[in-house]
Symmetry: C2
Subunit: 135 residues, 2 copies
């Protein structure tokens, strides 16, 4: 299940990508438009800025704006930053790998093999999609 954090984050990015204008947009405006708790969204936008997706401007007339071209923003990278691993098990995660305690041998584990296939198919979909496709 996708967390609300991720869902809201994607919505916010889409909102910014839809704008022709590249001027800063305030958190409150996005929150209002997308029905998101302003304070919660604030923390999300902050992590998106720290991750290099957004730029920010303080003070009056400030807000957040996209740094990169929406075409260059893969959905895989967005989701990894907000949600963490895309894989359904740590032992099949490319970016957040972790060994299972219970599993003596991954290569013979039935669940492992299955989840690799799921991961690859998901990765294919998300890797081909960019923020531009959503907006």
């Amino acid at each position: 299940m996708l967390s609300k954090k991720t869902k809201y984050g994607i919505k916010a990015l889409s909102y910014l990508a839809k704008r022709t204008d590249k001027s800063p947009v305030q958190t409150a405006e996005i929150a209002r438009s997308e029905n998101i708790s302003p304070k919660f969204l604030e923390s999300i936008l902050l992590t998106l800025r720290k991750s290099g997706f957004l730029g920010a401007k303080k003070g009056k007339g400030g807000g957040y704006y996209l740094i990169k071209d929406p075409n260059e923003i893969q959905m895989t990278t967005v989701i990894r930053v907000l949600e963490g691993p895309i894989a359904m098990l740590p032992c099949v995660s490319l970016n957040y790998y972790e060994k299972c305690e219970d599993c003596p041998d991954e290569l013979t584990c039935s669940v492992h093999k299955l989840m690799i296939e799921v991961r690859d198919s998901t990765l294919k979909v998300l890797g081909e999609k960019t923020l531009a496709d959503l907006a």
Copy 2:
């Protein structure tokens, strides 16, 4: 992320499917072999029995056994029973649909569309796989 419940459940089903013999296998044996907490596994096998995957026999020499042919057991149905929805958002779930509170219109929601694609690709992988493929 797949819960341990689901992971253990699939492992247990695989274990049973691998056996040529169709005699009942005790919870303790599966737990030992797969490194699962016996009591936790007990509850999992119980739900698998109630869902029609397993049969059970009480008393000495009892245990659990597969009811159906492993070829007939789709991984989608197993996961839905143990984990719940396969979709990453309730609003794109076929079997556990739920409307998003924040979203006024699903058809224009960028996240919605994206998650439908992810769901479909996952469903394709899991729908083609049966328990026999795992074992």
